[in-house]
């Protein structure tokens, strides 16, 4: 599948707590080109995760439009979004969210079970995804037998195994030490440059954001400024 672009227009999102409206996003506009690697920064509670969830079809906006690739997400039903997610997005979370009772390979295989596919083909794809993240030799380990960095690699393998257009990462290095973070960021970088995945990554860490081509800043419900990382853009286009 080719990379997909992301376009959000006048997106509002509010939560209701005790019938009190808590506005999170207020008329947000966003455009991310196909194959772009964008970082999303902002204060805690500013709505970064909320925005990522809207792009990934896990939630729907109160108002406004969300287009990812050719899909207009705000008009899709819950079950249509569920099916859409399985084909078009890969999520990477801070806490990895691996299934503890399954091995690395079985965790990675999970999203493929939603496709009509011969089991040999599934096995081949799982092996490919695990070798891309550098864990080809850890396939039979359970999550609790892996380090945090390895767990996140398994989670990334699980996110890419269906070859989605878009990868959405919510503070993927938030729980990792500096060296491991660097490895994970390099991996995301490679997925972007070598495999052309469109990536949106939420992060608190400016160094992490430095791996992206562009950093968007979310504050008070809108993207109030952005900066292009020229150094990264240069390495990306050079490769």
């Amino acid at each position: 599948m080719g990379a997909a672009g992301i376009v959000l227009r006048d997106v509002h999102k509010a939560y209701f707590k005790d019938r009190l409206e808590i506005p999170v996003l207020a008329g947000l506009n966003l455009e991310i080109a196909p194959g772009e690697f964008a970082a999303l920064m902002g204060p805690s509670g500013s709505g970064k995760s909320t925005l990522l969830h809207l792009i990934g079809g896990l939630d729907t906006p109160t108002r406004g439009s969300v287009r990812v690739g050719d899909s207009q997400l705000e008009s899709m039903s819950e079950s249509a979004l569920t099916a859409w997610r399985s084909r078009h997005v890969g999520f990477i979370f801070q806490m990895y969210h691996l299934v503890p009772v399954l091995t690395a390979a079985q965790n990675v295989e999970l999203p493929l079970l939603l496709f009509r596919m011969a089991s040999s083909e599934r096995k081949r794809r799982v092996q490919t995804a695990l070798s891309i993240v550098g864990l080809g030799d850890r396939t039979d380990h359970r999550p609790n037998q892996l380090s945090g960095g390895q767990e996140q690699r398994v989670a990334i393998a699980r996110a890419i195994v269906t070859d989605p257009d878009v990868l959405l990462a919510d503070e993927p290095t938030g729980d990792l030490d500096a060296r491991t973070s660097e490895e994970i960021l390099n991996l995301l970088n490679a997925l972007n440059t070598e495999f052309g995945k469109t990536i949106v990554m939420v992060t608190h860490d400016p160094r992490a954001a430095g791996h992206a081509g562009r950093t968007l800043h979310l504050d008070k419900g809108v993207l109030d400024r952005e900066e292009v990382n020229t150094r990264r853009a240069a390495t990306a286009s050079a490769s």
């Binding site: 079950s79 569920t82 969210h97 299934v99 009772v101 079985q106 999970l110 939603l114």
Partner: protein, 388 residues
């Protein structure tokens, strides 16, 4: 589009103790149900299978059972004219007059007392009850001799060939047991048979209890019954199978009573399953949200928890069957509220009963897991994914 079974299976062992306790609770219900059903079917078989379709059983008009029926000799004489009656080797119509009384015996198992039916019969009885097979020998008419049914012999004390049993109003007449008989597993096997004239003498009875008329053609049983029921005789006739199936229905009342108890136990097991599955769902909120994120549908999530409950139920069923197997082949008796005498039966755990238990166990599992599975399906993805 569902999760793989090994995912469900392994999750059962994340909460080993809870899973095991739930398995145990359902297993108790399964075992109770199996024992009850095999008791019930054993009782039913011991009575319900009795009787020959060409035999017409005659009682007096108000009676519900042989033991409470009385037929006076002048009425009995009219029965030989029953239309369609078969004729015996002596040229006489095959009518077996029978006296049914009871005597107290002790159970081999625990020495407790049981009321066994004693049937006084003539030679005609062996012609109408042609399923009877005798080991040893038959009593001689005119002698205080008796033969005992196989079930009675195996359940009660002092009923072996050569033993003597005291019968009669004041138990003053001793009968020697000279034979043991089989009767194709029917209720007769729980009885003691002796010569009718001797029983009439010992119990000082001038009337019989019942008469059994063998007909040439079971298809003409209505015609024969009409004669017996009609103004000429004014007794009550029913085909033997009909009489015994009605007796066996009455024996099932206690089964229904206990079934009520088992259903209450099953309801308890449903709550145990619900409790276990709620704990599983609440403990796996993040995992459910993640699976939903990957694209697993609500249906797939519901299915996952129902399958886990069904797995627990299936394990429980295996355990319950194993726990109930020692009961298989056991011989017990039950006191009929209609005849006031005991009938022996064998508890047999059949594949059909095990299948019924499996269905019941899985039902308990599925019903118990329904609400937790629905909760799992409604897990708000975004909220469950958040930290803390």
């Amino acid at each position: 589009m569902t999760l793989p079974l090994y995912y469900n299976w392994r999750n059962l062992f994340v909460r080993k103790l809870t899973t095991l306790l739930t398995v145990a609770v359902i297993a108790v219900v399964v075992a109770a149900l199996i024992v009850l059903l095999s008791f019930g079917s054993g009782m039913k078989r011991s009575v319900g299978g009795s009787g020959h379709p060409a035999n017409l059983l005659v009682l007096n008009a108000g009676a519900t059972a042989e033991s409470t029926s009385l037929i006076w000799p002048e009425d009995a004489r009219l029965l030989v004219q029953t239309p369609g009656a078969a004729v015996g080797p002596d040229g006489q119509p095959l009518v077996s007059l029978e006296i049914v009384v009871q005597t107290d015996v002790r159970r081999l198992r625990d020495g407790s007392s049981a009321n066994v039916a004693v049937r006084g019969v003539d030679d005609a009885a062996l012609a109408v009850h042609d399923q009877v097979r005798i080991h040893g020998r038959i009593f001689r008419q005119g002698a205080r001799e008796a033969m005992v049914g196989r079930a009675a012999q195996s359940l009660y004390r002092g009923l072996n060939i050569g033993d003597r049993i005291a019968l009669g109003r004041s138990r003053s007449h001793e009968y020697e047991i000279v034979g043991v008989f089989e009767a194709a597993g029917s209720a007769f096997e729980s009885e003691i048979w002796a010569p009718r004239t001797m029983i009439a003498d010992s119990y000082q009875r001038r009337f019989d209890s019942s008469a059994v008329i063998r007909l040439l053609d079971p298809g003409r049983i209505d015609e024969a019954a009409a004669y017996v029921n009609g103004p000429a005789v004014r007794l009550k006739a029913a085909s033997e199978p009909e009489y015994y199936s009605q007796l066996s229905d009455q024996s099932q009342q206690v089964v229904y009573l206990v079934l009520g108890l088992v259903i209450i136990m099953a309801a308890g097991a449903v709550f145990a399953v619900a409790n276990t599955m709620y704990a599983a769902v609440d403990g796996r909120r993040r995992e459910i949200a993640m699976l939903r994120t990957l694209g697993f549908s609500r249906v797939a999530i519901v299915a996952a928890f129902l399958i886990e409950a069904a797995m627990i139920a299936t394990m429980a069923c295996g355990l319950g069957i194993a726990a109930s197997l020692p009961f298989s082949g056991m011989r017990r008796d039950f006191l009929s509220p209609v005849t006031h005498s005991v009938t022996g039966f064998e508890i047999v755990i059949t594949p059909g009963i095990c299948l019924a238990a499996l269905v019941a166990a899985i039902l308990v599992g599925i019903v118990g897991a329904a609400a937790p599975a629905a909760r799992a399906a409604r897990t708000p993805i975004v909220r469950a994914l958040r930290r803390g």
